[in-house]
Symmetry: C2
Subunit: 112 residues, 2 copies
DNA sequence: ATATGTAGTATCCTAAAGGATACCATTAAA
DNA sequence: TTTAATGGTATCCTTTAGGATACTACATAT
């Protein structure tokens, strides 16, 4: 039987989460996928006109390897690759919506 | 009377929020302040043993100029400066808690 | 007289993130 | 036959965030 031990969180859970969603585009990508469901690579590119292909690819790969999104490749020509939230990614849904709402509120109350 | 117009969000609210809380330590700082209330500068330093004084100062200044935290200076010697969430910062409370909870869950379900 | 604690600044440097550009294979359409 | 569209990679470069280190003023404690 395990000896009971004090829970000394080895890594702060907030820090942990931030490390996964803390890229310049990650939360925005996740939010788009949350809203629209499945998206192809070039659809995402068009959503973010300023992102470079290389950066988008990398952010997607990182999100994928962290288990937040799924990448579905179809063996077609021209290529077709679909991105969507994984189950874990979907668990971010409430956070994504709250972040959006908070932003809307902040913008509304801070006229510039 | 205003003409009704399509809401073409000039800046994505998610992006907007991310720009404000998207530093390496910002969300963690906000979370600490949310949990503990008022914190002095060196108390925060001790919470994050790895942060440099310069970086902590900058993150705090940015949070302050974005209106998320308040900085209370006492005219004493040695100096005493207290940081706490502003009203706007407090409106992040639910998000901060959800982020923490999400992290706890993720860690629990992804044994490593 | 020296050390300690406060809340910083100033200067310089490194590492990481992201941007720019060119290139690839394959097919279908013009 | 050139062009376009797909979903990328490969190289190189720039910008930025953050780290390292030294320094400050002032008062109190030793």
């Amino acid at each position: 039987m395990d000896k009971q031990q004090t829970i000394e969180c080895p890594v702060c859970p907030v820090e942990y989460t931030v490390n996964m969603v803390g890229g310049k585009y990650k939360l925005v990508i996740l939010h788009k996928l949350a809203i629209h469901g499945v998206k192809r690579f070039n659809e995402l590119r068009r959503e973010f006109p300023n992102i470079t292909q290389r950066t988008l690819t990398r952010q997607l790969r990182e999100l994928e390897s962290d288990g937040l999104i799924s990448r579905q490749v179809y063996s077609e020509i021209p290529p077709k690759v679909e991105y969507s939230l994984s189950e874990t990614g979907k668990s971010l849904y409430p956070i994504l919506l709250q972040i959006e709402n908070w932003g809307l509120n902040y913008i509304a109350n801070n006229p510039k």
